[in-house]
């Protein structure tokens, strides 16, 4: 599984401020039993996120070009994701992917240079979304509270991702390992979303940090 400490270790340019800054009170909250909190919630920030999209004959060109520049081919199957996080590529729509990595380079420009000549569209979304990582034994219960997909361990496995509505917000959910999920929501809703997640997690106990 990816090591979240290295993911978080990107270099933030001056003033880059997360939508959740000041909102995450590190520590244990809610009910807990001897096993400790049921879920740990961390913010992943700063991240680079760039959407790439192509149409018709542009697609094959784009897949090749992204493979060349990222060392990773965007996954063909809908709702799957690939990569260890440096970067990770998530399918987000027909011929559309989101490339995500801890911020360390100007990913937008890298991809523009590589892909635009082939006709693809490249859009920087790195600031438009907030991302939480949820992990722990109760993580699937929290997903069950917020969203209507089948979150059973047999049904939603590592390498699957999905866009759905979670706590009434559009969310992109990426399964990293059996008990770890990365969730992306629109930046403006991040505070509301965090409140919903923590409320839902209270009965299992949760750790923020």
């Amino acid at each position: 599984m990816p090591d979240s400490s290295t993911e978080a270790a990107g270099v933030a340019p001056l003033g880059r401020q997360s939508a959740l800054s000041g909102m995450i009170r590190p520590g244990d909250h809610g009910a807990a039993d001897y096993r400790g909190p049921g879920v740990t919630i961390t913010e992943r920030h700063p991240l680079s996120m760039v959407q790439i999209e192509a149409r018709g004959p542009e697609v094959a060109v784009m897949l090749e070009a992204s493979n060349a520049v990222l060392g990773l081919r965007p996954p063909q199957a809908p709702n799957t994701s690939v990569g260890d996080g440096h970067p990770r590529i998530l399918w987000t729509g027909p011929n559309r992917w989101l490339v995500v990595e801890p911020e360390s380079r100007d990913l937008d420009t890298v991809l523009q240079d590589a892909l635009i000549p082939g006709g693809a569209a490249v859009v920087d979304l790195g600031h438009g979304r907030a991302s939480l990582r949820l992990s722990g034994r109760s993580v699937r219960q929290i997903l069950m509270k917020g969203a209507g997909l089948d979150w059973h361990v047999r049904a939603f496995t590592p390498g699957m991702c999905a866009q759905t509505t979670m706590f009434h917000l559009p969310a992109l959910i990426d399964c990293r390992d059996e008990s770890t999920f990365d969730i992306y929501v629109a930046r403006g809703f991040a505070v509301s979303f965090l409140e919903s997640v923590t409320q839902a997690a209270a009965e299992y106990g949760y750790r923020l940090g």
Partner: protein
């Protein structure tokens, strides 16, 4: 919950979709040549069938694709789904598509 088989995302609850409406309405291909009656028909007039209805839903909380859905308006049963341009009645392989739908959840 009506469960709609998004051609990309599989079986999802209808609360992830936004309903657009009758899929059989063809926007006049050549706007200037279309008569007032044709425009009126496109914008305002509906078959409104009781039974199978081809309609467009947008998977707005998912992959944002527009999906054509053949759904029975009397039973709410989804008989088939496809891309916006597919004619679902033409290839009406209802049961087969439903089978596929059963396994399609979140895949």
């Amino acid at each position: 919950m009506i469960r709609i088989n998004c051609p990309y995302c599989g079986l999802r609850g209808h609360d992830e979709f936004s309903y657009i409406g009758d899929a059989t309405k063809q926007r006049p291909a050549s706007p200037a040549d279309a008569t007032a009656a044709e425009w009126h028909d496109f914008v305002y007039i509906r078959d409104n069938p009781r039974g199978p209805h081809q309609e467009i839903w947008q998977h707005i909380q998912g992959c944002r694709a527009f999906v054509r859905v053949l759904r029975n308006t009397l039973t709410h049963e989804v008989l088939a789904t496809g891309l916006p341009q597919d004619d679902l009645l033409a290839g009406a392989s209802g049961p087969a598509k439903t089978e596929e739908a059963k396994t399609g959840e979140a895949s």
